[in-house]
Amino acid sequence: MNIDDWKSQVKRGTLEFCILLLIKKQPSYGYEIISTLDQYPIIAAKENTIYPLLRRLLKEEYISSCWQEGTEGLPPRKYYSLTAKGEEYIAAMSVEWDNLLNAINEIKGEKE
């Protein structure tokens, strides 16, 4: 049984969705996103995954970024926020996600 392999595949498929959902909730910076994801082992990921992914989402214009000057000992932070295109993308992903959950639930129900 190789559950880790399967888990990483799940992570690969859902990390983008999770990051966009986080940014939708409130504009956020890289370290904050990584720390939040860290609370959930199934989608926790390291810097070398998250930052390039954020950069790609930025290039594809699902998110936008804006540097905020550091104040009172806080470092400058690069905040990411969702664009209109990103909103659409999340909406489409949400529909498919619900489809997936429904499908799994139904199939599970039939077997019991």
């Binding site: 890289g30 070398n48 995954t49 930052y51 390039p52 950069r55 550091g70 806080l74 470092p75 690069k78």
Partner: protein
Amino acid sequence: MKKILDNYLEKMEKCLRPVPVSERIDIINEIKSEMQELQNNGVSDEMIIERLGNPKDLAKAYLGDLISREKGFSWNRVLIICAFCSLVGFSGMVVIPCLGVIAPTFIVCGAVCPCLGLIKLINQIFHLGLPFADHIGIFVSESFTLNPLVEFILILLIGVLLFLAGIAAWRLLVFYCKKVSGTAKRIFV
């Protein structure tokens, strides 16, 4: 900021040289920002370095993503692939330079071939007597020379084939880089 953190950022910046300056500075600033966040949370410099991992690997993650994102053939893309190659390791040291040389060479030859063919054709039709034009062409034997028009068409065909071969080598190169980039793999961690 302590020296080991500065060193880390410096190493990363070196690896990211093919990335446009503004983007590179942005990448470095973002990592620097995270280092400061971690310091504020009382994480030691050594732990920060450990958390971020090898600076080359972190740079590689960015480069790998860039390679698969950009489309088409551009000089900048060649540079990115070269930088990436230097980080990939042994197989990359052989495969990437070979394909990197083959692809542009074939593409250029494919373009030059029909041009030369055309020069010879024009030379023969108008009897211009251009120097060295007789050296261009397909050599069959001393006694047999091809019809100029047939020869030109053959040259054109060879040019197209060379060009396609060049494109194929380029595609293979990009495919290889994507395979070894590890951006896909690292997400499995």
